[in-house]
């Protein structure tokens, strides 16, 4: 089972992003997703920068996939998408059906977590159009995954979002700007001030969601480290680990050790607790509300 590092979901400075991926080059990962998936106003890095990072990671033996936006509205966003699709070198992750339209039959692509792949007929369609890999929607359970694994077309890889705050929703509205009483058109890129997003708490202090610009994420960090053996049995090809600001190297190492059988799964899961932010969840995996946690208390 391969390990991939998901795209950076939070806004960082150009230098910080370059430094981060310099370090990532040495981590025990098989693949890395690069690029902006949340907001087109985040332009600290240009496509040329991402391609430069992609080459370095490629030289370091990582399979690179260029990710694309989940919400495509403006023509400028479609033009950026076109340039990503035309990169001529790396596979592309589609996160909107508009991207599938551009890539179909031309460029091998990954149907990302924001493509609604809920059944075998959809997987067949995506494979016919040139998808090499699909990502299980975050709200689906192990039971549905098992059924989809039975039915998936030959040659189509399956990836599961296994670690990180879950990307749950997108809006036209920027919630970070709203929390600062700013309109989106004058957002001042305030999301860049929050390396882990802004906590949205209930009035009883429960960290329910995380606001990241126009994206709403889970409050808890999804951790499927404890399910690694089940994921292996289900013939999942890739686990996606979504980067967080700190402790990511350790998380990657623990998943690597568990997947390769170098460390017992319960032990790896136990050790991962030190690197989780506020709250942990895995409910979706068990067919429960996503916010719940089943297993040893963390």
């Amino acid at each position: 089972m391969k390990l991939s590092l998901g795209p950076l979901l939070y806004l960082g400075s150009r230098d910080a992003v370059f430094d981060f991926y310099s370090a990532v080059a040495d981590w025990p990962l098989d693949g890395v997703y690069l690029g902006e998936t949340v907001c087109s106003k985040r332009r600290a890095l240009r496509l040329a920068d991402w391609l430069e990072i992609a080459e370095r990671l490629n030289d370091a033996g990582k399979q690179v996939v260029l990710s694309s936006l989940a919400l495509l509205e403006a023509e400028s966003e479609l033009l950026t998408l076109q340039r990503i699709a035309d990169n001529g070198r790396f596979c592309v992750e589609a996160n909107d059906i508009g991207a599938v339209q551009l890539l179909a039959g031309r460029v091998p692509f990954v149907a990302g977590p924001h493509i609604n792949s809920y059944n075998a007929a959809t997987l067949e369609l995506l494979a016919d159009l040139g998808a090499r890999r699909w990502v299980l929607p975050v709200e689906l359970s192990r039971v549905t995954l098992a059924q989809l694994q039975q039915a998936r077309p030959a040659g189509l890889e399956t990836e599961v979002f296994a670690f990180g705050r879950l990307p749950l929703a997108f809006s036209a509205r920027c919630f970070t700007a709203r929390a600062h009483n700013l309109p989106k058109d004058d957002c001042q890129l305030r999301c860049g001030d929050y390396s882990e997003g802004m906590a949205m708490n209930t009035r009883e202090g429960e960290h329910l969601f995380t606001l990241n610009g126009i994206q709403v994420q889970s409050g808890g960090t999804c951790n499927l480290l404890g399910a690694v053996n089940e994921l292996l049995v289900l013939n999942v090809d890739v686990l996606r680990l979504s980067p967080q600001a700190s402790g990511m190297q350790e998380i990657v190492a623990l998943f690597r050790a568990a997947v390769d059988g170098q460390m017992a799964v319960p032990e790896a899961e136990q050790l991962s607790a030190a690197y989780l932010g506020q709250g942990v969840c895995n409910g979706y995996w068990y067919g429960e509300p996503g916010m719940l946690w089943q297993g040893e208390s963390m």
Partner: protein
């Protein structure tokens, strides 16, 4: 697509036969309905149609020269696949004027099995750009697309100019803040979402508490909002509660409010919008009658003379009276909302 459609259709919701009759009697051009199961995005207890009722409703609408659309717009998982394909087969056999669908696999089934069946793309498919519309048109011959409630008016215009299918937009009703079909907030808290179960913030997960603090609304135990004794309490939809962010407690995602595009009707008409949709299959026949009547009058006035169209105060008063939060917004059509 032409810059101005011959006539903008008024598409109204019906969760029951009385609601369907109310919509037809008060001037809807089309009524959309769903079957009584998880195949549609208003899978609420006591709502929707069995096949006999659908037949009766269809006959009633057709006798009046109106159309009926059937929404089959949730995302079937493997174990439920046959229920969804059966729903598509039933819609074709009933002779509905269109089915409103979202799932790519199910759209492919419908296009292959029932090539004569007219397909509309549900808002739940999240088609927010002309490339996505081209995809559904080319793959499944989708004839009309319902746009998510996330685009500004300028973006709606641009999509229509480049679209290869008719465009329908929301005109009135509860406002989804998130891109429809891309929101799992409800399943994160309750286990059920629009995509998986056709529900958002399901009633069975709602619990009210009363005490010295006033009233508290919980969704599967999570506090969504707390109301002082003097405050009017709303249904605890996840995205319309008050939460704490950065030390402030406020409607962090959205206020309880309704979408109302009356003041923008001429622009939508001139942009070439094919149909205006009213949200609310869960609403009562009286509500449907009221809203349909006002929108019918407004659409007629707009289409008769778009340049001199003015929103009448009594229209707004009648709509605000029944609207969520008793207030309205232009939502994302109006850029500052974003």
């Amino acid at each position: 697509m032409p810059a101005m459609s011959a006539r903008m259709e008024l598409v109204c919701p019906a969760g029951s036969l009385p609601a369907l009759r109310a919509a037809v009697d008060h001037g809807a051009d089309c009524v959309y309905i769903g079957l009584r199961d998880g195949t549609n995005a208003r899978n609420f207890p006591g709502l929707n149609f069995d096949l006999t009722e659908a037949r009766t409703g269809l006959d009633y609408a057709h006798a009046a020269g109106r159309k009926v659309f059937m929404a089959i717009n949730t995302y079937p998982q493997p174990a439920q696949w046959a229920t969804w394909t059966r729903a598509v087969d039933s819609a074709a056999q009933l002779g509905v004027d269109a089915v409103i669908m979202a799932d790519p696999g199910l759209l492919r089934y419908a296009a292959r099995t029932h090539p004569q069946l007219r397909l509309h793309l549900s808002v739940q498919a999240s088609a927010t750009n002309h490339l996505a519309i081209a995809f559904y048109r080319e793959q499944f011959n989708v004839q009309r697309v319902v746009l998510p409630r996330v685009l500004s008016l300028a973006q709606v215009r641009h999509v229509i100019e480049n679209a290869t299918a008719e465009v329908e937009v929301f005109g009135f009703g509860s406002l989804c803040v998130m891109v429809e079909g891309r929101c799992a907030l409800s399943s994160y808290v309750t286990g059920e979402s629009p995509n998986t179960c056709g529900v958002c913030s399901p009633a069975k997960a709602v619990r009210w508490e009363e005490g010295a603090f006033g009233r508290r609304a919980r969704l599967n135990g999570v506090l969504i909002d707390q109301y002082a004794a003097t405050e009017k309490a709303g249904y605890p939809t996840l995205c319309k509660g008050r939460f704490e962010v950065g030390g402030q407690t406020f409607y962090a995602l959205e206020e309880p409010t309704s979408l109302n595009v009356l003041e923008m009707l001429p622009e939508l008409y001139q942009a070439g919008v094919a149909a205006i949709k009213v949200e609310g299959r869960q609403r009562s026949p009286a509500y449907i009658a009221q809203v349909t009547q006002v929108l019918r009058a407004a659409l007629d006035a707009c289409q008769a003379d778009p340049t001199h169209f003015a929103v009448r105060h009594d229209w707004l008063a009648q709509l605000d009276k029944v609207a969520e939060g008793r207030t309205h917004t232009l939502g994302a059509y109006h850029r500052p909302w974003q």
